[in-house]
Symmetry: C2
Amino acid sequence: MTEQGKSSNVVWHHATVTRKRREQMNKHRGAVFWFTGLSGAGKSTLAHDVEEKLYQLGHRTYVLDGDNVRHGLCADLAFSDQDRKENIRRIGQMARLYVEAGIIVLTAFISPFRSDRDNVRKICGHDFHEIYCICSLEVCESRDVKGLYKRARAGEIPDFTGISSPYEEPEAPELEIDTESHLDECSKRVFEYIAASVELR
Amino acid sequence: MTEQGKSSNVVWHHATVTRKRREQMNKHRGAVFWFTGLSGAGKSTLAHDVEEKLYQLGHRTYVLDGDNVRHGLCADLAFSDQDRKENIRRIGQMARLYVEAGIIVLTAFISPFRSDRDNVRKICGHDFHEIYCICSLEVCESRDVKGLYKRARAGEIPDFTGISSPYEEPEAPELEIDTESHLDECSKRVFEYIAASVELR
């Protein structure tokens, strides 16, 4: 699309590199794969494992998780209900922009509230895929990779999902995966789901 | 990096697809090219024109501008001083995340305040390149592509940069470009600067 400037003989160009053209170059569609589940359910592990598989096939991905979001884009947010909601909203908007850039986005956030996840679904539309990592509290707590459950049990972390704050299960996730064991198998299943969804070529 | 989970015989994987590996795949470094200047100075035009050139060479880019940010990631922000500042901060953080994904980010925002741009420079470090689009108010106003100057002169838009709000010129931009005319030439210069900066291969 071009239009003639009113003076100085300048032709004004607008965006010509569309999402579709980026997707053609990348040989896959952009999409968001939203891993949700308790802390320790394997969300990040799966996201990173699948990302490695996709990279090795030459595809474009990015993982959004607490590590790269909480200290940057969402550094101004604390843990009040309002701030948690805004945190998930921004991540959803960010994910949408990556999708526009033709990228396969994998997000790994507990995102315990249905309304927040549904909000992201609205933001991203058909590009949104909810992946529910199902793992019992008992197993998640026994893993306790970051020592958070221990601290939550000691009362050092308020509103900790599964301990002192609820986790609202997805009602109709695009994919459910039992992550209590055999994460290699889980990763294969997730990869196959993603490959089909984004039409890997 | 892997560590053994405390139970259920699970090996925990962390991020293995690093920025460096993405850059190897993309055949260029990630970086932010921050176009700043008055409304009508040609920021978006240049960004999109250069993006087209980069796309045709098979490179990965994204343009952030008012069109894709104001109604999404920054939809909760108005135009108070505080909100404008937060707007630029978020765009800076977003740009940083794209850079981590190995992408060449082009941003087109007036971003009139030096302190805001310097804040983005802090966020993005050596990956930040400030491109000052120099164009007189007279020429920008005569272009008035979006009819904003007319509305600002009529008092319909408060705090409009160049009319009722200051533009603070960059003190040491990485690139200065005279955008009063010959935008095709400008685009070539910007492209050459970017190609050298991101080590296009």
